[in-house]
């Protein structure tokens, strides 16, 4: 879990004469698959989700009616039933696997450092920027809501060059609005800047 601070890598404090801290090694392949037991419960959450989706598919399938013209055992219900059944079965098998100590292997990547937990503050800020755009795009238009999205994202990811980021954000959103309008013929909402653009 993150402490919610921006400084993630501890800085090297000054040591004695000639001493130095080695640069932080790039933990490309950390072994984060066998975590403490506290994460067990969240693993079960995946099984619960699969179960819920499976039950949803099955109950929804029940409400479908077969056409009189359909022949044989396969009708409108069949495929949703099968998919729902697959999901329920996988929910059970996954729960068994977790109970036996199986863990989902977190996905690595060239820019991913799994040695620290998920940074929920960053995720929250990113989601906020995203939601702000969804709420505002039709009211104030893409040139402004897109800029808010871009600026909010750079802020969430730790960039603190407000002036630079604001300029880049506006250039991106106004530029993309023009690109879509002129280049692709798609008119994104113009909103408050109507008449200016």
């Amino acid at each position: 879990m993150s402490t919610g601070k921006d400084t993630v890598v501890p800085s090297g404090t000054t040591g004695g004469p000639g001493a130095s801290l080695p640069p932080v090694p790039p933990d490309r392949v950390p072994d984060a698959t066998r975590d403490s037991t506290s994460k067990n419960y969240s693993e079960y959450g995946v099984a619960v989700l699969l179960l819920a989706l499976g039950v949803w598919a099955i109950t929804d399938a029940m409400s479908l009616t077969d056409l009189a013209s359909s022949k044989g055992p396969v009708g409108a219900k069949t495929v949703p039933m099968l998919v729902g059944g697959l999901l329920v079965l996988m929910a059970i098998l996954l729960a068994v696997d977790i109970a036996r100590g199986g863990r989902g292997e977190q996905e690595g990547g060239e820019d991913v450092d799994l040695s620290h937990g998920s940074d929920w503050r960053t995720i929250g800020l990113l989601a906020g920027a995203f939601v702000a755009n969804a709420l505002l795009i039709e009211r104030i238009g893409w040139p402004l809501s897109g800029a808010i999205l871009f600026f909010g994202t750079t802020y969430a990811l730790g960039s603190r060059h407000y002036v630079r980021n604001a300029i880049i954000s506006l250039v991106m959103s106004v530029g993309s609005w023009y690109l879509f309008y002129a280049g692709l013929g798609i008119k994104l909402p113009v909103g408050l800047l109507k008449g200016i653009l």
Binding site: D6, T14, A19, S20, P23, D111, G158, R160, R164, I167
Partner: protein, 132 residues
């Protein structure tokens, strides 16, 4: 009252280090070498690689001055990080490397040297790379 030098693996950075060693010897002070980067890009020119960092320390050992080195990666501007080290160690002098920048480049990317020059509490010695 040490001398703090902001080291960047570039001609300016090396010039600053060379001058800082001279100053340290001249004044009989301890030298604190800071290599600070933001660590927000996959590849950062400011960050000295292990090999470069080692050769810096070799150069320092050979010079015979008393020294400390610190390499830090923080989500802050490197200029602020150098200033912090200077403040903590109550530095007598900060030595930095300087390079020519376009006004637009400075506006967009900011200038770490400018931050240090304007905000340091102690004198700052700015060194340019040898023009050869």
């Amino acid at each position: 009252m040490p001398i703090v030098v902001g080291y960047v693996p570039s001609p300016e950075g090396r010039a600053a280090l060379g001058r800082a060693i001279e100053e340290a010897r001249l004044r009989g002070r301890r030298l604190v070498v800071v290599n600070a980067s933001r660590g927000d890009a996959l590849v950062d020119r400011r960050h000295a690689s292990a090999g470069e960092w080692e050769s810096v320390q070799q150069q320092l050992s050979d010079s015979g001055v008393e020294f400390e080195v610190t390499q830090q990666i923080e989500a802050r501007d490197p200029g602020d990080q150098v200033l912090d080290v200077a403040q903590q160690t109550n530095a007598e002098l900060i030595v930095i490397g300087l390079r020519r920048r376009t006004p637009v480049g400075k506006l967009i990317m900011g200038s770490q040297a400018q931050t240090i020059l304007l905000e340091a509490d102690c004198p700052v010695l700015a060194v340019k790379a040898a023009t050869s």
